[in-house]
């Protein structure tokens, strides 16, 4: 992979911004709102973590918003989704309430899992969100299982699973690719390639630089795209979803992106330079989308109003979450088994 990220990578990307049709400005504006909402939620969570209110490992998706927002518009609400511990953005893009999301990360009673799951385990089946996962790669066969279930039932639902570049080296990924392709499962494998696996640049441990080429060995269709361009993500996912629904099997999408914040809250980021991050700020999803909107006649004032509305909304959500009570002590012992 070329050193300088998305700009350089679109040279090798199979689908670039020029080759996809433009989305209506209204829709793009809504996407901007959602992207900015995700950004603000993540920034607020980082602040809460810095003040010691969030423990454990909290991974934000700052810089990854494009993949989530492009995906959400391209799929149906019933379509299954699994993702990694870095999964706040997918959940918010699919409509999870920021209040309940933040409360969960804080371990409060109003969280969607009563504060038991936390940041790494976002889930809400009513939105098709079938779970983020703390174990690298574990969510991928699960999504294929959901696709298998859809195929057996013949209900037209598809599955999408998100994972990182680092996950490509878990054996279970390759077991799943083969079965999904062989059985023509209705699934999209979406690799959010941010070029780092924790503190290790992926090129240091990978024998292959272009992630999307792996699955071609299994006969699977695969593309590399600019994952920071929401229009590109939208069209790529939409087309893959149509194929999956038509029984034409899986697609692998490698979306090139970059994580602008640390691997997790508290990451000292000694493994990369300020300059590298600074350069990436020029290609990040919010900047790309904002420039598109300005180009297409939307005023800076309009965008500013959107941002102010979202700021207020997220502030309120943080407030709500911080005021949410702690779960009852008795909750520590419940939910080990489902009740009949």
């Amino acid at each position: 992979m070329p050193e300088s990220a998305v700009k350089a990578s679109s040279a090798v990307a199979e689908i670039t911004v020029d080759s996809v049709p433009q989305l209506p400005v209204d829709q793009l504006q809504n996407m901007y709102r959602m992207m900015y909402r995700i950004r603000r939620v993540e920034e607020s969570l980082l602040e809460l973590a810095e003040s010691g209110k969030i423990g454990g490992a909290m991974h934000t998706a700052i810089g990854h918003e494009g993949s989530a927002v492009g995906m959400a518009d391209a799929l149906q609400r019933e379509d299954y989704l699994t993702c990694t511990y870095r999964g706040h953005h997918h959940s918010l893009a699919r409509g999870m309430d920021a209040k309940r999301a933040i409360a969960e990360v804080l371990g409060r009673a109003d969280g969607f899992a009563k504060g038991k799951g936390g940041s790494m385990h976002f889930i809400d089946p009513s939105l098709g969100l079938m779970g983020a996962n703390g174990i690298v790669g574990a969510q991928v066969p699960q999504a294929a299982g959901m696709a298998l279930a859809s195929k057996i039932r013949g209900d037209g639902r598809i599955a999408i699973t998100f994972f990182g570049d680092g996950a490509m080296y878990q054996g279970v990924m390759h077991e799943t690719f083969n079965m999904a392709q062989k059985w023509s499962l209705p699934i999209i494998f979406y690799c959010e390639n941010n070029r780092y696996s924790e503190m290790t640049p992926i090129t240091r441990t990978s024998s292959v630089e272009e992630m999307y080429t792996f699955v071609r060995a299994y006969g699977m269709r695969s593309v590399q795209i600019d994952g920071n361009d929401v229009e590109v993500v939208y069209h790529t996912v939409k087309e893959a979803a149509e194929r999956a629904r038509a029984g034409e099997g899986p697609t692998y999408i490698e979306g090139i992106t970059y994580r602008l914040a640390g691997h997790m809250a508290g990451d000292l980021e000694t493994y990369r330079s300020e300059e590298e991050i600074e350069e990436q700020r020029g290609y990040e999803p919010l900047v790309v989308l904002k420039n598109k909107l300005l180009d297409r006649g939307v005023s800076e004032e309009t965008l500013q109003v959107i941002r102010q509305e979202v700021d207020a909304e997220v502030e309120e959500a943080v407030e709500f979450a911080q005021n949410s009570p702690w779960p009852d002590d008795a909750e520590a012992y419940t939910d080990v088994y489902a009740l009949a």
Binding site: I54, G55, G56, A57, E104, V105, G107, R108, K114, G115, K116, G117, G118, S119, M120, H121, N133, G134, I135, V136, G137, G166, A167, M168, Y169, Q170, G171, S197, E198, M199, T200, R204, T205, S206, T270, Y271, W326, P327, D329, E331, A332, Y333, V336
Partner: protein, 332 residues
């Protein structure tokens, strides 16, 4: 004498063994250039280079299997699992392969490797990054399980683990990393043998057998119980649970007559159950009252801080269990 952190003690043991024995090498995620997620392997790559401090992709099954293979040829790999919870991803290579090799081959091939890394709760990491795993490992013959609580024991036991001809699981509790303790000078070599418990606090009313981070919690509990209730608790640090030094426990119970075993892995079928069963089988006459155990309640570890506190068998729960043990009537 000087003081070091637990992390520093482990780092020293790794460095010294790597210097002394060229067959020792390390393999794991982010251990080289970055120096380990918890900085335990800091700067080791600078001294030993990328052939002996190997950064891997996220391929636990692969690199655990490679460590088994390398050990079969006489190398002494030290595998770091970033979170011990991930042993489940590579469990076949650990248990079905490495642990059984010596037995299955009638002693023809042994596997001198160390698996090390941090485990345990207390930092709000949630269900997949907080569990204590020692009792599970104890179910598989062929692998030793070492659980040091102090920097001194950590260094001495890690050196013994590396030199051991068998697979050894070396468990570092995440709450221990920044604790400090006294150490001999850096150039003064020493080891701590695997399988020998150590009385960390003398007492006369009851014996509390524990290890790893629970030991520190038990020592604090013992001080408070002495002050608040006048109960004198003897605290035995097991230091390894396979092998399990029951003799030291028996010597203590011979004095106190009461026994409580405490650990952070599941109480159900855990090492505490084993300790209690053994004293009933082997030395029931030492007990003046029923032996008890305290482990993790049957639940996964939640993210929510207050809930995590409810479940973990730490100071508050230990104090309650000690009082309960003391209240239990003596045998008729």
């Amino acid at each position: 004498m000087r003081k070091t952190t637990y992390i520093q003690a482990i780092n020293e043991a790794l460095r010294e063994e790597m210097r002394d024995d060229e067959s020792v090498f390390m393999i794991g995620e982010d251990i080289g250039h970055y120096g380990g997620l918890f900085r335990v392997t800091r700067k080791l790559m600078d001294e030993f280079g990328p052939n002996r401090v190997i950064d891997t992709p996220i391929s636990e099954q692969g690199f655990m299997g490679m460590a088994v293979g390398a050990a079969m040829t006489g190398m002494r790999p030290i595998v770091e699992l970033m979170y011990m919870d991930f042993f489940l991803v590579c469990a076949d290579q650990i248990f079905n392969q490495g642990a059984k090799m010596n037995y299955m081959t009638g002693g023809v091939v042994n596997v001198p490797m160390v698996i090390r890394g941090q485990h345990g709760g207390g930092k709000r990491y949630g269900s997949q990054h907080s569990q204590c795993v020692e009792s599970t490992f104890a179910q598989f013959p062929g692998i030793k399980v070492v659980v040091p609580a102090t920097p001194y024991d950590a260094k001495g036991l890690l050196i013994s683990a590396v030199r051991d001809p068998n697979p050894v699981l070396f468990l570092e509790h995440k709450m221990l990393y920044f604790t400090r303790g006294e150490m001999p000078d850096a150039d003064e070599p020493y080891t701590v043998p695997i399988g020998v418990a150590d009385v960390k606090r003398e007492g006369s009313d009851m014996t509390l057998a524990t290890f790893s981070y629970c030991l520190l919690q038990a020592l604090e509990a013992a001080e408070e119980l002495e002050a608040e209730h006048g109960i004198s608790v003897e605290v035995v640090d097991l230091r390894s649970i396979v092998p399990l030094d029951m003799e030291t426990i028996y010597a203590s119970v011979a004095k106190t007559g009461r026994l409580l075993a405490v650990h952070e892995s599941q109480s159900n079928c855990g090492i505490g159950a084993e300790i209690v069963a053994r004293i009933y089988e082997e030395a029931p006459h030492l007990l003046t009252a029923p032996a008890r155990r305290l482990g993790m309640a049957p639940a996964s570890i939640p993210v929510s801080g207050p809930l995590e506190e409810v479940l973990l068998p730490w100071k508050k729960n230990i104090k309650a269990a000690v009082l309960e043990t003391m209240r239990t009537p003596t045998f008729a």
